[in-house]
């Protein structure tokens, strides 16, 4: 089954904790307006970002 992280943009405040806990390079990116983007083709779905997120804005499904 294909599993990847998804972000709820309403809850996200752009704290970047998910970027610092992701083991895979170039998966989570942030732009100047603090919008988080996830490259779902590369995400392995480990869930480290979900645990790290203080706003519970991320899910793995």
């Amino acid at each position: 089954m294909y599993v990847a992280a998804r972000v709820d943009e309403e809850k996200c405040n752009g704290c970047k904790l998910c970027i610092l806990t992701c083991p895979d390079p170039n998966v989570i990116s942030i732009d100047k307006a603090k919008n988080i983007g996830i490259n779902q083709a590369r995400c392995k779905g480990c869930g480290l970002c979900v645990v790290a997120c203080p706003k519970e804005a991320l899910t793995v499904s």
């Binding site: 806990t21 083991p23 895979d24 390079p25 170039n26 990116s29 942030i30 480990c46 480290l48 645990v51």
Partner: protein, 283 residues
């Protein structure tokens, strides 16, 4: 890899893979990038075959992002989990026979000093606990005792991960593994203390739960190794596959270890301290 080599001629730029084009446009070679800029630039490591939630991959990624001069850095690796990630980097990279990494790094550093007398070429050894604490312990200790100007970084996952989970010298006492069903019978090898007594000018012990500390420690270690002497950074990178915990708990396991037996520790020699004060003043 200097920018001059990295940049393709304009006629052929379209033919190159997309990853390469992104690296040329948005890589970390152009200006000083650090851990806090992660996510805003294209990282030098490409896709790697590590397991989901791998601590080693996270450690390697954070170290690669905190190199002070990636274009002038040469990474030395050795077989093990760490080298799966490193083989995909856009850095000068050399692989060695298992355990020989510090001997090879010493030679390369001396050669680079002769070839580029007026430039700082950082030689960084980035290997796992098997390469440093078990099979390459003699080479590592001797490179420190000879005061070679190299940085040694250990990504310590406390197990031989890619061969199925044998115990290593850095495994915790009592840890049960796939190929150590009765638990390990002797304590961790104190490599951090050995580094202090065998002449390292700077040493730090961190975990992947505190990325900013990794960034500072790696940067300091490489700067001190340029002028003063050997340096050592030990990063705890837990392995969910062999230590048998869910892959989303890697950072929590590292955080618990940081509160217990893997506390943050740092030492710096007086000469290195003086050198760091001088360089930070100059900047």
């Amino acid at each position: 890899m200097s920018l001059r080599i990295l940049k393709p001629t304009a006629e052929f730029a379209d033919l190159l893979p997309k990853e390469y084009q992104e690296l040329v446009e948005n890589g970390p070679y152009h200006e000083q990038k650090g851990i806090s800029d992660l996510g805003t630039f294209k990282e030098i490591i490409e896709e790697h075959p590590h397991c989901a939630g791998c601590g080693v991959a996270l450690g390697v990624r954070l170290v690669a992002a905190s190199l002070p001069a990636p274009a002038d850095t040469l990474i030395i690796g050795t077989p093990g989990c760490s080298f799966f990630g490193l083989a995909q980097t856009a850095l000068n990279y050399s692989n060695t026979a298992f355990g020989n990494q510090n001997a090879v790094a010493s030679g390369l550093k001396r050669m680079l000093k002769i070839r580029y007398p007026d430039r700082n070429k950082d030689v960084v050894v980035l290997v796992g606990d098997g390469g440093i604490a078990d099979i390459g312990l003699d080479m590592t200790l001797h490179s420190w005792l000879r005061r070679e100007n190299i940085t040694t970084i250990m990504v310590d996952n406390e197990v031989y991960g890619n061969t199925g989970g044998q115990e290593s010298g850095m495994t915790k006492e009592g840890q049960v593994l796939n190929m150590a069903p009765e638990g390990k019978k002797f304590p961790k090898i104190p490599v951090f203390e050995l580094a202090r007594t065998s002449g390292c000018a700077y040493g730090a012990r961190v975990t992947v739960a505190s990325p900013r500390k990794i960034g500072e420690a790696v940067k300091k270690a490489i700067l001190v190794a340029r002028e003063v002497g050997p340096t050592y950074v030990q990063i705890y990178t837990p392995c969910p596959t062999n230590l048998k915990f869910p892959p989303d708990q890697t950072v929590k396991v590292a955080k618990d270890a940081e509160a217990g037996y893997y506390s943050f520790e740092e030492f710096i020699s007086p000469e290195a301290q003086e050198y760091m004060q001088k360089t930070t003043k100059a900047v």
